[in-house]
């Protein structure tokens, strides 16, 4: 349990950041897509800049195997990244929130986002039904530990992301 506690802290901190930077605001998202202010672009670009520098530093100086595995990007891309991205983008502009903000806005008392969350779960469920012949581990999703062929099997063993449920 203690191991999971740090993720709760990460969530609280990130939720506060989303709120205080106003990037979870429907109004800010509209302002961004109408190119009326630099605010959102400033947040996104400075976040990426800090991310890029940290990743480069970690890749160069960290001796930790997990760190290196996590930071090795998959070289391939698929059309689904692009087309799924467009679908998400449409929902993002209308609901004015991406997945993180949906949760945080619910916590902040904007209960209309419960309906958005319900819709999102039905969307994810629909994807699962359309891909019922596949296993979730075959469909790449950010947040998962990558199955990197470069790493030794011995290492992957403890890290494998999806274990099929025993019935």
């Amino acid at each position: 349990m203690l191991k999971l506690f740090k993720y709760l802290l990460f969530g609280i901190v990130f939720g506060i950041l989303l709120f205080k930077s106003e990037v979870l605001s429907w109004f800010r998202i509209q302002e961004m897509f109408r190119f009326h202010a630099f605010h959102m672009y400033g947040v996104i670009m400075s976040a990426i800049a800090v991310g890029l520098i940290s990743v480069q530093l970690l890749k160069r100086y960290s001796k930790n195997e997990t760190t290196q595995l996590l930071l090795t990007p998959e070289p391939s891309w698929k059309w689904s990244n692009f087309l799924g991205g467009i679908l998400f983008g449409i929902g993002w502009a209308i609901a004015g929130a991406c997945p993180g903000p949906i949760y945080t806005l619910i916590g902040a008392g904007h209960l209309g986002y419960l309906v958005v969350l319900g819709g999102a779960l039905i969307g994810a469920l629909t994807f699962g039904i359309l891909n019922r012949n596949k296993a979730a581990s075959e469909v790449e999703q950010c947040g998962d530990v990558p199955n990197n062929p470069v790493t030794s099997n011995e290492f992957i063993e403890g890290q494998h992301s999806y274990e099929t449920q025993r019935v």
Binding site: L8, G11, E31, F33, I90, C98, G119, A136, E140, Q141
Partner: protein, 183 residues
């Protein structure tokens, strides 16, 4: 301490958000991402397609993390703010009021997100369908703005750059075309 209660400028909040990437890798031993939580929430339910037949306990971190996001929203809203209106530009206000959005208090327009019990069928549909697109789209794209745009681009993943281009094409299309049809 007044500055904490006011909205944080982009050059403060942006770099702090960027630090989530190394923090997650070093202390969390995970890649930072949020939309995968939808998948894992689906996997929690007892009735589910085979796709979701995996042990959720290995992904419990993701669900604990989004619980933290909810708590963070509560804390920020209750204790860390005195501002009730987002100070968006005058040009945006003007354009939004042409669509009937005239109440600029709160983080999202009350006309669309407030009063669920009195909400019209159209309002429910707009919220539900946009949510559906978020869930389906992030599943196909393999991630959202945190996993792809922030983390993926920081790692220079081609898939993440591609997805982010898609996010903006979809968002611009919805804002400049669909808004005229919906609102």
């Amino acid at each position: 301490m007044q500055f904490i209660l006011e909205p944080w400028p982009w050059y403060v909040a942006g770099p702090l958000i960027g630090l989530m990437v190394p923090a997650f890798v070093i202390f969390g031993e995970k890649r930072f991402g949020i939309s995968s939580s939808f998948r894992h929430l689906c996997a929690v339910s007892p009735l589910k397609p085979k796709f979701f037949n995996y042990s959720v306990s290995e992904h419990a971190w993701s669900l604990v993390f989004v619980l933290g996001l909810v708590l963070g929203g509560f804390v920020a809203n209750e204790f860390l703010t005195t501002v009730s209106t987002v100070s968006i530009s005058e040009a945006t206000r003007e354009q939004l009021s042409q669509y009937g959005f005239t109440d600029f208090s709160g983080m999202a327009p009350n006309q669309l997100f407030g009063g669920l019990t009195t909400a019209s069928a159209t309002q429910w549909l707009v919220l539900g369908i946009s949510g559906f697109l978020i869930g389906l789209g992030t599943s196909y794209a393999g991630g959202c703005t945190s996993g792809h745009t922030i983390t993926g681009i920081s790692m220079m993943r081609i898939a993440s750059v591609t997805a982010t281009v898609g996010f903006f094409i979809g968002g611009l299309f919805a804002t400049h075309v669909l808004f005229n049809l919906i609102f």
